[in-house]
């Protein structure tokens, strides 16, 4: 425990980096996945194409993608951008399916009713269809968040900062405390992130708790 208290500064820095590298991809991924999921729920060919591509992208191992990206988009090998892009790709791959499925599951009668009271397609999507899909989207985001938090540690193996550094450093120095600290910190961060997402999910869907 003394080691932990002596290194609170380092742990703080690593936490900031880790949160940044895992949360930013989730936000970017969500922004990109919403229009894609919408397209996949509207047109059958788009659905087949997007789901096949996401399935394929999701199959590619994270470490492999982080290593291959620099050659494709000419970034530096150790640039954190590679991690952000890789995790954004995974988040998109995961969310496109859940958003498409959730939008397809909105009852046609509700869509018809919204149209009948004067909603135009775009406002109807924002005001009716997407809100109804939020619980499923939040479930997808929770999976993406937890998996991103554990994947950022993998980046440490090729020199990218985050809690993973506690593993590589502890391994080189044969120092168990540092590794255990890293594992506990990762689990705590995953837990906190999961609770925050659940809370946001509840706050933006007040209607799910009415009339119980």
């Amino acid at each position: 425990m003394t080691w932990v208290f002596d290194h609170l500064g380092l742990l703080g820095d690593l936490t900031v980096t880790h949160v940044y590298l895992s949360v930013l991809p989730v936000v970017l991924g969500l922004i990109i996945a919403i229009p894609l999921g919408w397209a996949a729920s509207r047109w059958r060919p788009a659905r087949a194409f997007l789901l096949t591509v996401s399935g394929l992208l999701y199959t590619i191992p994270s470490l492999a993608l982080i290593v291959i990206l620099p050659a494709i988009i000419s970034t530096k090998t150790l640039d954190p951008v590679n991690v952000i892009i890789t995790l954004t790709v995974y988040t998109i791959a995961l969310l496109v399916r859940s958003i498409a499925d959730a939008l397809s599951a909105v009852p046609p009668t509700i869509v018809a009713a919204a149209t009948a009271i004067g909603y135009r397609p775009f406002k109807r999507f924002l005001g009716v269809e997407f809100p109804l899909a939020i619980p499923v989207v939040v479930a997808g985001l929770r999976v993406a968040m937890v998996s991103n938090i554990s994947l950022v540690s993998v980046g440490a193996l090729i020199g990218i900062a985050g809690y993973g550094q506690l593993f590589t450093n502890g391994f080189q120095l044969q120092f168990v405390t540092e590794i255990v600290t890293g594992i506990v910190a990762t689990l705590l961060l995953a837990l906190v992130a999961d609770l925050v997402l659940q809370l946001i999910g509840r706050l933006v869907t007040p209607w799910t708790r009415v009339g119980r």
């Binding site: 199959t59 191992p61 993608l65 993998v154 809690y163 506690l166 593993f167 391994f171 044969q174 594992i183």
Partner: protein
């Protein structure tokens, strides 16, 4: 693109000690071993909880905690505790594979139509027969979905075994990194990616064979994916 392919298509890398075929066999060996152990541990647990419908909450909670466990942390920790060898990577990969297998078995068996299970009991099947002849075959799509998801994660993550001195395709990634030899790193990464896609294709084929044809029309348009 030459950066990606110069090492990969050099014939000298395709034979001998430390050659691609040897690394590939090592990689598949770690994957198969970890997956087999994870099935032996995770499947009975998930099946039991799914069959008795008791302890589902604990099982799902345990699976979620295991899922959040950083594999690299587990790997380095076990190396410090147990020493360099086959044990650390296999332990880390097994822990990675257990949650999807356990959760798939539980979710699948738990979701079998109660009417079907009641009918099986009604015609005089014992609990064992209900589980093996009715619940498991009916739950096969989800059970296999869990195994497939686990296999994919393990084949991707077996790369890190090389970080603690073992073989496998990760060898090229970490050797390339140490030698500042990017083409070798990229070559290793491409091999891992291609292997993952191949494993996914093979398992999709196997799934068709092990899932009863009677269950096929039930599949929703999207199929069983993660």
């Amino acid at each position: 693109m030459n950066l990606l392919t110069s090492w990969l298509f050099d014939p000298t890398n395709w034979s001998g000690t430390g050659g691609i075929p040897q690394r590939l066999v090592e990689h598949l060996w770690y994957t198969a071993l970890a997956l087999a152990i994870a099935i032996v541990i995770g499947f009975p647990l998930g099946a039991l909880v799914g069959h008795t419908k008791r302890g589902g909450f604990v099982l799902v909670g345990a699976a979620n905690v295991l899922r959040a466990l950083p594999t690299v942390g587990v790997l380095t920790l076990v190396v410090l505790l147990a020493g360099i060898g086959l044990v650390p990577p296999i332990a880390a990969l097994t822990l990675l594979a257990i949650p999807p297998i356990m959760a798939g078995a539980y979710a699948g068996i738990q979701a079998v139509e109660p009417v079907v299970v009641d009918a099986a009991r009604g015609v005089g099947m014992t609990e064992r027969e209900v589980l093996f002849q009715v619940e498991i075959p009916n739950a096969m799509p989800l059970i296999f979905g869990g195994v497939r998801s686990a296999a994919l994660q393990v084949v991707a993550t077996a790369t890190i075994a090389a970080y603690v001195g073992l073989g496998g395709l990760g060898r090229y990634v970490f050797d390339g990194l140490a030698l500042h030899d990017y083409p070798q790193m990229a070559g290793g990464a491409i091999l891992v990616a291609v292997l993952a896609v191949l494993v996914e294709l093979v398992l999709t084929g196997v799934q068709r064979l092990v899932v009863s044809p009677g269950l096929r029309p039930v599949r929703t348009s999207g199929g069983t994916q993660r």
